[in-house]
Symmetry: D2
Subunit: 348 residues, 4 copies
């Protein structure tokens, strides 16, 4: 284990995922934040934009410039809009620093699928070729040797980890899977949009992105790998009037003869995972708020033949910044849980 401090840079540091990275890295025993960048706030201190960080991190924000970041740091976290990473990560960058991309550009192995769902061309073939999908629980060995990690999406992390054991063990039908997911509003980002205003979100719930949400192919990619056959599923996200948290309510039909014990046995694959907690009662997002845990609850309904899997994460931690730090730990040979074993915010 290498205990030298890791110098870290963050592009897109003032967005919600970026600032959560600052929060986590500032408390990480072996990380050192050396470079922060923001297109909108360059020239200001991060603690002017986010006064919560006063005294914790007061770096001046630089312009977003991947090469400058790569030269300054051992690892660059990119939290930028879709397309920028694909356009800019190349051999010159990767020769200088490891890159953990919190965006979507390197998550889908098949460029055509990316272009279909994201409605834009992908210009980063070479980088895509070597990128590793950084869902640590499934791919930690590949991550360890990587230079470029595609940090998974928030909904996808929660959905994949909830359903993976069932598909890996072949206990459920691979068609007819439904994932009804609910997210806190930080998932919509910090852009000043009318639809993200307090008075438009508060005291309401809505579904959005029906049949078209971009996290769908990412979930299908990983569950297809688990199942060994292509999986096509229904993914429906919802916006909930809360800051943080994702709850995925997943439905699948169990195969004939599969019982509660078989299901339980399948999830034994998670034994020893530091961040997965199998729960005895239905999960609540408040129990993972601020922590890196994935809480999972299973219920087989013999009346309908469905298994219901509930998964809960904090979208900004395990769904973004926490998982990125987990990937950083793997990349630099640290214990995977370093700096991430904080208790979630208790009951509130």
């Amino acid at each position: 284990m290498n205990k030298t401090k890791i110098n870290a840079a963050i592009l897109g540091a003032t967005g919600y995922a970026g600032v959560e990275l600052v929060r986590l890295l500032a408390a990480h025993p072996y990380a050192n934040i050396v470079h922060l960048a923001s297109h909108s706030y360059a020239g200001k201190r991060i603690s002017e934009v986010h006064p919560a960080l006063r005294g914790i991190c007061d770096l001046v924000l630089q312009e977003d410039d991947l090469m400058a970041a790569a030269e300054a740091a051992d690892v660059v976290f990119m939290a930028l809009p879709a397309g920028i990473a694909a356009d800019s990560v190349d051999e010159a960058i990767l020769a200088k620093a490891k890159v953990i991309d919190l965006g979507a550009d390197f998550r889908l192995h098949d460029k055509a699928v990316y272009e279909q769902w994201y409605k834009k061309e992908h210009h980063g073939d070479a980088a895509l070729g070597e990128a590793v999908y950084g869902l640590c629980e499934l791919h930690r060995d590949e991550v360890r040797g990587a230079r470029l990690v595609a940090n998974p999406g928030c909904y996808t992390t929660c959905s994949i980890l909830s359903l993976y054991p069932l598909l890996k063990a072949g206990l459920v039908c691979t068609d007819g899977i439904i994932i009804d997911a609910k997210s806190g509003t930080s998932g919509a980002g910090r852009g000043a949009k009318t639809t993200s205003l307090f008075c438009e979100v508060d005291e309401s719930i809505k579904a959005y992105g029906l049949a078209t949400h971009r996290h769908t192919p990412e979930i299908e990619q990983e569950l297809s790998l688990a199942a060994g056959v292509p999986v096509t599923l229904q993914f429906t996200p919802h916006l909930v009037p809360m800051n943080r948290g994702i709850l995925a309510t997943c439905y699948a039909r169990v195969k004939k003869g599969v019982g509660a014990d078989d299901v339980k046995a399948a999830y034994e694959i998670y034994r020893g995972e530091p961040f997965i907690r199998l729960c005895d009662s239905p999960v609540e997002t408040r129990n993972v708020k601020g922590g890196n845990f994935v809480d999972i609850y299973l219920q087989l309904d013999e009346r309908t033949g469905n298994i219901i899997v509930l998964g809960a994460i904090d979208n900004l931690v395990k769904g973004a910044a926490g998982q990125a730090v987990q990937n950083m730990n793997l990349l630099f040979g640290l214990d995977e849980g370093t700096g991430l074993m904080m208790a979630p915010g208790a009951t509130l």
Copy 2:
């Protein structure tokens, strides 16, 4: 149309459904609140318990006593815990006043189903025999001539009205239906339970009652009637950190060859319904808050073969007090929308 004032009584007047009835009846042009009762607050004015009502309704609360209420009023609204109505509504009562029961005791035609899901005996055979299930859009003709109306549950109203046209028209498979529903916290009632505390609900979402929620057989009863064959479905409720509102996200597999036009045509059955709004974009519960509307949005996903139906209501209005008033209007020969055409709370 009988324009004499209808004298109304409410048992359980201080619970959330009860006080919403007061709010609606106080604004109803042909209703007159003459009797309010509350087991917990008898002797106090309703406006001491709910100061929002000061100057609107200041009646002193009586002890819960169905006969006293029936003698005082033309119609008695019962908003009491399960079992009480079954034990107390009888010929003597119904000879004196019409009864609209907001509880569950008379909703399920089959007593055995009630006893199975509610885990208690049902002692009201005679009343059950004549009770009409008061989902106005489906049963308004029967309601008009009834003495006893079983006002539907909140989740059920939203779920049934969302899916009814599909099953009536035979466009979807009757197995595999999934209803993933989300409710505001007023649905949990006004009892002082730890799980309903602000700090236990705020900033979190959870599922509950998996595979066992009592609204399940009520939805199945009505959709089976629509389909003409027994329908068994998955119903999963969730608790959302907001006061009011229910969103039902419903999934069904369309039969081979069924297209978007067929689906659209099926919902033409709702043309002319005063409270059903078919929407061009995904519904949000804030758009029905405080109103009696049911907002419905349809999306066929040809990739998966599923149809997704979103339904939204205010659980306290169309899901309880508003529908009860709608039933009262039918019982007394008034226009169904009387006192109920208020705009929902605009955007907030």
Copy 3:
């Protein structure tokens, strides 16, 4: 009382005050919405922008054009940014229609005070000269004969009505008054600003506009009139994570010898006011939500010599659209409470 329908126009109809006007006027028995305008959404239906209004009001939004509105309507409600009304309301307009301005341009009698606090020139001398300050409880006789009504600010309505009787009766020192006010987020408007985002407002409270908030001189103007001497006071607004509601916590030092009975007697001046409710326990904003009431609670603290007055209103109703309708009722000879006696949203 003139029961012919009043034709009403609204400029700025898609902002929170504008849409609340639509909600109230749609339910008003003698009003008829004939013209809606919005700079940002011209060409769309109001119900496309605010789907809550589907079926209630589906008018197409016009461009903001005061003359067009004045020609179409008997009364024009203006809910526009500061400065526009001062620039555009003139004799030609007032010859065609009554104008109720929900903005600040005609509230301050002294143009110099306006220019000092609003940091802009005022170009509407003539209109200012005839404008009546439409705080109905204090100025209803003047409003009745007016052509131009300056509808008071939200904070000011709540603050003035809370303190007025004390200053009118001369019971408190005119210096040292402190108003610590708290508002829901709709008061910040519907503009897409970062500071109004859900995640920036939720789960937090802050003060803003310390010593500089523009409602200060408006409160001072009216309380000085009441006291007969100039009143200079401290006004501090706060932003609360809720949609609606204002609570004003007001502090004044009682003069020597003044007791609780004197204070109580002073508030007798409000006897008979349809919208003022003097309460026996501390007020809560939820009790006025959606209604036009002003709830007031008094407490004399003999230990400190202060009187504390709590006032609560719904900022969008009594603090904006409701009071504007109240003014319309006065302008057109209707009973002041017409269309405004709805119960607040019960407990939630």
Copy 4:
């Protein structure tokens, strides 16, 4: 600095302050939780009651028994209702373990003042005699040598630290001080009361405890000590629909000739304090959420002659559990910030 692990016990471990102590101590490098007690949940694991703690702390809850706790631990944190600590902390206890009482029993030096405001007799004279008021910034030297620490109240911590420099420096009049404070709902505790239900708190703000709140004499005690003369002030708490956070808006009249520079100079007394942050813009409670900081902002209003001081803390951290850990650090010779330098929850 003693780096042996400190064994810690908590009585009242399932309340909001108790569970926050668990959260902080679990992450503290030199603390070891050895004993947790709860009257209501004895026999269950803390992580059954608060599933957020699964894997972080899974101890079985004992019955509340101070002697058992004192025998098991080096330090006992008491988070119990008023009166219990006064009745039970004695020489026998203090001979075995240090005690940090998060309740009110030992905060007021004058027993008569306690009995007047708490309306109950105080039976702990001896303990009261040696208790140290654990507001670390003012009394850290006394705390270091103490056996019994009275951890300050939440409102009081925020109010005292906001105003202390002004009174210490003699810049403001000692009469006429007003503290208008706002708190999140966790301050009301975890008891199952109707007034703490989600639907009774959400979307509303109210004042409570006018002129009678028990934190008043505690603030007066400390500010009188600072001023050298008795200070009588007005303290008004409010309930805000959020989980955590206190904002104190404090008003005082500056003495003649006092200017902004004098005020600024007075707060230099806080230079070097690890947890006090003097801010350039009005504070927001979200910026201290989850952290141990006190954010303070000053504004002198020359127009009115008032100084306004805004103070913000997290009521469960600096207002309870965090300050208790800060006191533990002092008691055991650790650096005061050990285990407490976490960043607040960024923007959300």
